[in-house]
Amino acid sequence: MLELSDIGVRFGGLRALDGVSLSVAAGEIVGLVGPNGAGKTTLFNVISGNLRPQRGSLHFDGADIARVPAYARARRGIGRTFQIPQPMHTLTVAENLAVAQRFGAGRVDAHAAEEILDLVHLTGLASRDAATSLSLAELKALEVAKALATRPRMLLLDEVLAGLEAVAKRRFTQMLAEIHARYKLAIVIIEHDIETISTLCPRAAVLNFGQLIADGTPAFVFSQPDVVASYTGTVPDA
């Protein structure tokens, strides 16, 4: 479904992404991990069209999307959330979903919106002002709901569990599993918590200093010396 090949992004002298190649199949859940500054969010920005890479190719469903703008990628089925929740200001929760449905999915479907709100546990908050009256957990749920309202086939979740306390995190993880089961989406999730990745994702990919250093099952990936070293800051044995 998604094919990234030799993606390179530089910010001045900094190589944010350096030759990253990654493919994600339809319906697959992939955990994207790595230390802070490894290039995870930059990779999401490249996939969603918020950032154009200096080199490499991107294909989604076989089509070259390198020059497709962000809004058009959303319409093609790439939904995303932001690390810092970005509700649409001045709009209610229901209006946030309506705008996402109208422009991302092509039509407003009140029944589908209710179903999504129920799934992310925001039922009853539809008339609330999205930017000013929601808790962090609710804002994160709204991020997911907005992305779902565009009827995506691939969901990019950028640290949606960060900042949540343990119970809320477990609930959220369960919710993501339900979303995957119901919509059969491909999901790529950036997450620091290894336990969550191991629970939710059959596959994990690890970025460090802009390079993909491991890709496989969580058990395999987290046993790799390079990966352990990237997290602990030690140098792996030769």
């Binding site: 969603s48 509700p87 200001h89 001045t90 705008v99 422009f103």
Partner: protein
């Protein structure tokens, strides 16, 4: 809902019938009201661009001037009927806005300054393209509004009805867009453009469409004015006053609302021309400036917000009085 329809009907009757009935004998006052509504139409177009497009323009004089000249020239040189040329004036102003598209990449004061510079370019073109516009000499004897079904629309009352209809049509279009999903997305875009793009909103096209619509409306007001005053010259048609007065009116009335710019235009222009000018024939704008400054300091949401705060109290007082 029924109360709202009744209120709208009462307003329409008052605007279309009572104002001409009360003031048609005073041609000076009618001409002031027509001028106030002309400024109100531009103020509404300016506020639409600001509220929905999120763009602050200092260049609406360019759209007004292009609309004026386009309509006058199409009637005089191509023989178009005035009704069609009014629309064509708006369309030409929207076309002129196409040249501003590169400026949409800019934000805040940078966009405002780019548009201000752009407005000057049109003024220079109108002055120098003597073969078409007669340059600084201007164009005289621009055809007036015609007689339709025996009624002379070139009269003050006829012009009043035309400009009132244009302004109300603009207000309805503005209200329709604001209520639509496009309106919701546009309002949300100001503070969260990445978020709107991520759900499929083509933010550049959305902003551009508001720029075109605002230019179209302003161009139509310019076209109306050309046939109302029957004379054009570049320094008048592209005057900075066609930018500044509507901005002052919109801010005074409350630019976040639809009725605010209209109320602001009528109050500001009539106060200035009928009251302040009578008190201070020279320098009367100083009073207006001071009033605007006070309004920004003490009621930044404009007159509309003062009415909104006062009205519930008045209703409550009236209700308790009735009881």
């Amino acid at each position: 809902m029924a109360a709202r329809i009744a209120a709208s009907f009462a307003f329409a009757v008052a605007a279309y019938a009572l104002v001409p009935f009360a003031f048609s004998g005073n041609l000076y006052l009618m001409s002031m009201i027509v001028a106030a509504l002309t400024i109100g139409g531009i103020a509404l177009a300016w506020a639409l661009l600001g509220n929905l497009g999120g763009l602050v323009s200092f260049g609406h004089a360019a759209f007004f001037g292009v609309g004026s000249y386009a309509s006058a020239l199409l009637v005089m040189k191509a023989g178009w009927p005035i009704g069609i040329s009014l629309l064509a004036g708006g369309a030409c102003a929207a076309l002129a806005a196409v040249l501003m598209l590169p400026a949409l990449r800019l934000r805040g004061p940078y966009f405002a300054l780019a548009v201000l510079a752009y407005a000057h370019i049109f003024r220079i073109v109108a002055t120098e393209w003597k073969g078409l516009t007669n340059g600084a000499g201007g164009i005289g004897n621009i055809p007036r509004f015609p007689v339709v079904l025996g009624y002379d629309f070139s009269s003050k009352t006829g012009a009043y009805w035309i400009v009132l209809s244009l302004v109300l049509a603009f207000a309805l279009i503005y209200a329709g867009i604001r209520r639509s999903h496009l309106g919701l997305a546009l309002r949300a875009m100001h503070d969260s453009e990445d978020a709107t793009r991520a759900v499929g909103v083509n933010s550049t096209l959305a902003k551009a469409s508001m720029l075109f619509l605002s230019a179209f409306m302003t161009g139509m007001m310019g076209a109306f004015n050309a046939h109302y005053i029957n004379f054009l010259e570049p320094d008048y048609a592209f005057s900075g006053l066609w930018t500044m007065l509507p901005i002052v009116a919109a801010i005074f009335g409350g630019y976040r609302t639809i009725t605010g710019p209209l109320i602001g235009a009528v109050v500001v222009y009539l106060l200035d021309q009928l009251v302040f000018k009578a008190m201070m024939p020279i320098g009367h704008q100083i009073v207006l400036g001071a009033l605007l400054g006070a309004m920004i300091l003490f009621a930044p949401q404009g007159l509309q917000s003062i009415f909104a705060r006062r009205l519930p109290r008045l209703r409550m007082t009236s209700a308790s009085g009735d009881a």
